[in-house]
Amino acid sequence: MTSISVDAVFCPRCGQPLGPAGIASGEHAVCRRALDLEPPRYCASCRRRMIVQITPSDWTARCIEHGETTESTWGPA
């Protein structure tokens, strides 16, 4: 599952601007649900397309401006 920063300006799935409702409702609710099974593709700060690498256990998304995020998709052992 991809966690979304409360400071997100752009949707990490479709890259479109987030309104005041954020990603939890409105037109991005579908994106929010989809991100349960997808890594982010767009930087939530600048909407650049990120370089994403996925391994069986985690993903890493890198924005050339805002750096790298890594999340494990496997819970604690």
């Binding site: 599952m1 991809t2 799935r13 479709c14 890259g15 349960d36 099974l37 997808e38 890594p39 593709r41 767009y42 397309r49 990120m50 370089i51 994403v52 690498q53 996925i54 391994t55 069986p56 256990s57 985690d58 993903w59 998709t73 496997w74 819970g75 052992a77």
Partner: protein, 365 residues
């Protein structure tokens, strides 16, 4: 382009066949089995005699009602247990080269021809080794390295050589590969590297394939599959369902896989990816997916049938369980190539609950 039945009919038998290819028309009895008695036929023919279903019989299975689904899955499960046993083969997959593929497989977010947000990137060897170790720690016996390419060039083959050596030097796991279409030399080279199994899917039944891919042919895929079988590597060959194909074309894929006789069939359910031509297709209904699982098991009684991409979206937790009790005997743990999967602990707990042991590495040779 939206797939449609008319286009398929026009495409039937459109290409000349080579000697090793199956006939364009499905080989089967001329009398179709009715939906009412197909379960009796499946029990007698597949379960008792070990003979796979014919095209018409597979189609009859795909046409069974929701009311018959429970009994259908039970028969498919009995077939799996009799001819494959209770063990479940566990595998992890990883993308060595992601995105930027020149091919136009309409379901795939890694094609460079679509407006998919997936960017091109290579994974380094230390990361591959780390992933192989983590995969092995789940009990998995297979680790498949995948590259989004038409076929491997010299650079990719050298990367594979180094990656396989590094993994084999530090992780006790079978290494599989999926690098697109191969020539005979590449095939032998991969076998010599110690690749245990090679994946190359038919993707769709022959008549529907031109609606899915236009940059290469179904026949080219078939030829690579035949080449793999000559080298001693195990062949892993499956496809996707839920891409807009008809039931007839779904049955055709299962029948053609039965004719090919791969060691393993990965069964994918379309996960519509944004930006791809199939991005707006609906997710396949769960009961249709379960009927597919049973039909593929009855078409391939002695083949490993693996849950591959899309099962989380299509089946959810309950459906995942039903499929494991309906013919599936292998899973991919963790994430996929461009999407995420379940936490392996959930899958492993389910296998434990169902009393389905993980197939040991020593049993896979």
């Amino acid at each position: 382009m939206q797939p449609g039945v008319d286009g398929i009919r026009n495409n039937r038998g459109m290409t000349e066949q080579v000697a090793t290819q199956p006939t364009a028309s499905p080989t089967s009895p001329t009398t179709p089995d009715s939906a009412a008695d197909i379960l009796t036929v499946a029990r007698e023919q597949v379960l008792e005699r070990g003979e796979r279903l014919t095209y018409d019989q597979i189609l009859a299975v795909l046409r069974t009602s929701d009311e018959q689904l429970e009994e259908l899955l039970a028969i498919a499960h009995e077939v799996r247990m009799r001819y494959q046993g209770p063990d479940v083969e566990v595998e992890g997959i990883i993308s060595l080269k992601t995105g930027g593929c020149p091919e136009d497989c309409h379901f795939c977010a890694q094609s460079g021809q679509f407006t998919s947000p997936v960017r091109s990137v290579w994974l380094n060897i230390p990361e591959l080794v780390r992933a192989a170790k983590l995969t092995r720690d789940t009990g998995a016996s297979e680790f498949c390295i995948v590259a989004a390419v038409r076929g491997p060039d010299a650079k990719l083959m050298e990367q594979m050589r180094a990656a396989v050596a590094a993994i084999k030097g530090s992780v006790d796991i079978n290494v599989a590969a999926s690098l697109g279409m191969l020539d005979a030399d590449q095939c032998q080279d991969l076998a010599d590297m110690g690749i245990h199994r090679y994946n190359h899917n038919l993707e769709a039944g022959r008549s529907y394939f031109p609606n899915v891919v236009t940059t290469h042919t179904w026949e080219e895929r078939w030829e690579t599959c035949q080449l793999v079988k000559t080298t001693g590597m195990e062949l892993c060959c499956g496809g996707l369902v839920g891409m807009g194909e008809s039931l007839e074309q779904r049955a055709e894929l299962a029948d053609q896989l039965g004719e090919l006789e791969p060691h393993e069939v990965p069964l994918n359910f379309l996960n519509p990816r944004p930006g791809t031509p199939f991005g707006d297709l609906p997710v396949m209904p769960a009961n249709d997916a379960l009927r597919c699982i049973a039909a593929f098991r009855l078409a391939l009684p002695r083949t490993i049938l693996r849950y591959a991409g899309g099962r989380e979206l299509t089946l959810g937790d309950l459906g995942t369980r039903d499929g494991l009790l309906g013919g599936i005997n292998a899973v991919i743990v963790g994430n996929y190539l461009t999407t995420l999967g379940r936490d392996p602990k959930e899958d492993l707990a389910l296998l434990d609950e169902l009393k389905m042991p993980i197939k040991a590495l020593s049993d896979t040779f």
